[in-house]
Amino acid sequence: MDRLGERAPVMAPDAMLPLIARVARRVRELPDTWTLDLVAADGGPLMRYAPGQFTMMYAFGVGEIPVSVSGDAADQTRLVQTVRAVGKVSEAVTRLAAGDTLGLRGPYGTAWPVAEGYGRDVVVVAGGLGLAPLRPALYQLQAERKRFGKLVLLYGTRRPEDILFRRQLANWRRQLDMEIEVTVDHAGAAWRGHVGVVTRLIPRLGIDVDNAMALVCGPEVMMRFAASALNDIGVPEEAIHLSLERNMKCAVGLCGHCQFAGSFVCKDGAVMRYDKVRRLLGLKEI
């Protein structure tokens, strides 16, 4: 079978058995989006993960959903995940208060290949809530800043009030070693930033396209256009990595819900190389 992901996923010893986690902290990012800091309910270690991986969060009696890790992988004292309330399970998860418990399986899936960017320019393109799965990669890029060339974050979202991790972005901007461009689809007259889709910023990138790597995450339509625009300016297909999203249930490649051509997004992804998926992205059948 032609696998689309390249890196072996890191899987917990018993991949189907949920751990019990406790909410240590709950932060409202946006009116419908919350970040939860999770620790093991028994006080032990929770799980080790790599940037780009996800867990299955289980709201007891309601159900399970896949959620990407949004925290710093170097901080193993807690697991940080950002959830938007869009359905029954995510609504239940975002209603959990500090001290409440939930089930957690994982981590699952492939990771952002951050180390492949050593010695190269790195472009991170995020759309909407897609900034959350990219944040662990951004933490690593910042932690190992000297190993990379130019570092650029392009972030597009709907309106100025929908900007995720606003304080974090401001902190990174103050460090002056990462170029950050934020654009919104619509804004009032008071907004002084960019307006327009995030792909419009790509032709202006002043990077060494022959020696660059791109990490892209957001709604799939946005990723298709962003990856295509990156390729148009000269970034090779094999240097562009996307995080795909499908209906994941078992998360270990057994149930088939997230089948993507000959692969499963849960274990062969979610991070996949653009050259392997480019011709599949536009197919509505998958």
Binding site: G128, D162, A187, A189, P219
Partner: protein, 153 residues
Amino acid sequence: MEGLERIVSEHRLFQGLGPEFVNLAAGCAKNVRFNADQYLFHAEEPADWIYLIRHGQVALEVATPGRGAAQFETLGEGDIVGLTWLLPPYRWGYDARATELVRAIALDAKCLRDKCEVDHDLGYALLKRFLPVLVQRLQAMRLQLLDVYGSAG
């Protein structure tokens, strides 16, 4: 090459254009500047000018009753403000406001249209440069209309 011709030829839109065409285009050009919050033009006014931005940012806006101005696109260095000059009735459909100090080359649209009517080679060369910009903006606008960052995003 004289100052204005050189500036015009160095703009992204005109890069690689033959010197004879650059000279014709530069004959319709002048340097302009706009302070922050100054308008380049308003909706319904005649589309008499094309602006090639050299520095700064311009917001394209539509006034919405009770909500003030809504920005739908910003343009920056190397971009063109004003594609409406190409087709009748040559009238702006939106406002354009400098959000910071803007320096630009303003091309007299009527002057350029007249030269294109006389010299079809110039007209074709310019159309080949303006049409991709139009298509890129159309594609971007389609993506914007999909509202991909809604609750499903």
